[in-house]
Symmetry: C2
DNA sequence: GCAAAAGTGTTAACAGTACACCCATGT
DNA sequence: ACATGGGTGTACTGTTAACACTTTTGC
């Protein structure tokens, strides 16, 4: 490697983060439970390029930090959210992906329990909905005032994420940069990670009912699960506590905790 | 994102690649088959730092290419090997990981059928052996003249790969940089990828016997498999051809092909 | 009582494991 | 013939999926 690192041109390196949560939806009556919805954390851009469009939180790396540390710091600064650890999603480096110049993006993903309180004014949770039809995905993000941002994404190859090179082609009600692909890719990883319940545990308080846990699964997978089978599947990972949760118009439920496991604070 | 990309310091970005193959070992007699061995492609360094030590092939990114394209080009230049597609392994960015300065490494992995012919003089296949004892790994790499390079690796967290910051601590018969951790991490990914046989298919010719396929699995997983069970497991992925392979001192075997599948040339 | 949700049981299908057995070939 | 590897059957086990059923609460 005959290379003088000061001699050649270097890229700017950015870190972007896809943060998912599951929020309680509106409950419909005193008897029905509320259905939780999967949401992703986005920031309204205030500058060129993609001004006024939603984008993933992120920022540029600096010398004193690892990329993960940069990602977590930017997340804290822009949204007030603090949520290690991160998992690596992809690196995007295609020419023209950022009109500001040669910028490589390292993209990470994680989940966090819903804490609306600390959000910065530009940051907001967007409800996530993903539809698939023969290899192509339609990602629909909805903000709290009901505005929809729709992106068509085709993932030929997870290592070749990109959509457009010219900014002009991007519809106004869409996402900044190539962030829609990142979100789709992250959601697919989140779903496959649910083979083990560790990600779901991070979306719930210390003690939870098995129905809570199942609803987290259902919100992420976007399909109904059969209760008896679900309980058998996650039984090895949870532990009964002495607590019960009552007060609703039906039989009260036992509270559970996750079993102590080594894979607890490791990436998903 | 109030950022003028020319104003701030930028890192050098390198791509490193872990390329695995499975090579035929020496056959012991006319009756016994030869046992294939798992190997990784390394390059002897010719300069400071880590001069004369084996390292993963790789190099620095430049403006006209994606990181994956850089990785593939460097691989071609340094070893003569041409093998898309790559899968992302990890990004290493810890301070002090490279004594030349602020250098981020994007690490990829792949597998390729063994073609010794084209190797550059500095590039060589090293036999891989991995031992585990309570969370710590010992990686032993052996070159063709029998020289061993031994590294102790502890993977607390796949996102926090690193071993040393000071070059002085590295034993002479070890690997350059943090490349030992990369190889261990890549091997673990390769192993778990064998739930589906796509990686194994790339290590074999178009037509192969089921024993060939099983031996690839055994070389990578480093354990014996039961033939009847293995054949049932991979049956949905292979197709019988009309060819047979005879000539040895035992019953000849049928040749198979992989079934056409969408996931064929996609990352592993 | 009744609606709604908590929680358990039962069955059939399927996949994973270990082992035993027969087949075909070159020397 | 016989050693060697190719190839198949079988019995046991555990997991998954679908569905039916019982239990407990607030109104």
């Amino acid at each position: 490697m005959d290379y003088d690192i000061t001699k050649y041109d270097r890229p700017s390196v950015a870190a972007d983060i896809v943060v998912f949560t599951v929020r309680k939806g509106d409950s419909e009556s005193y008897r029905h439970l509320s259905k939780p919805v999967l949401s992703v954390l986005l920031v309204r851009r205030t500058e060129w390029p993609f001004e006024d469009m939603p984008a993933l939180p992120g920022g540029f790396c600096c010398r004193e930090e690892t990329i993960e540390e940069t990602a977590l710091r930017k997340l804290r600064e822009k949204t007030g959210v603090d949520c290690p650890p991160l998992s690596l999603l992809c690196n995007l480096s295609k020419q023209g992906r950022d009109p500001r110049g040669w910028i490589i993006s390292c993209c990470y993903w994680t989940v966090i329990g819903h804490t609306n309180a600390a959000l910065d004014k530009n940051a907001e949770w967007y409800e996530v909905s993903l539809k698939e039809s023969d290899g192509a995905y339609t990602l629909i993000l909805t903000d709290d005032s009901g505005r929809e941002f729709i992106s068509e994404v085709r993932l030929n190859n997870p290592n070749e994420l990109y959509n457009q090179s010219a900014e002009a082609e991007i519809p106004r009600n869409s996402l900044a940069f190539d962030h829609a692909e990142m979100i789709v890719n992250a959601l697919l990883k989140l779903r496959s990670s649910l083979e083990k319940p560790y990600a779901a545990f991070r979306l719930l308080p210390e003690r939870f009912t098995l129905t809570d846990l199942q609803q987290v699964y259902e919100a992420i997978l976007d399909k109904k699960l059969i209760m008896a089978n679900f309980r058998r599947k996650i039984a090895p990972y949870v532990e009964e506590t002495d607590g019960i949760e009552g007060g609703a118009g039906h039989r009260p439920s036992k509270l559970f905790t996750r079993k102590a496991a080594a894979a607890d604070s490791s990436p998903l």
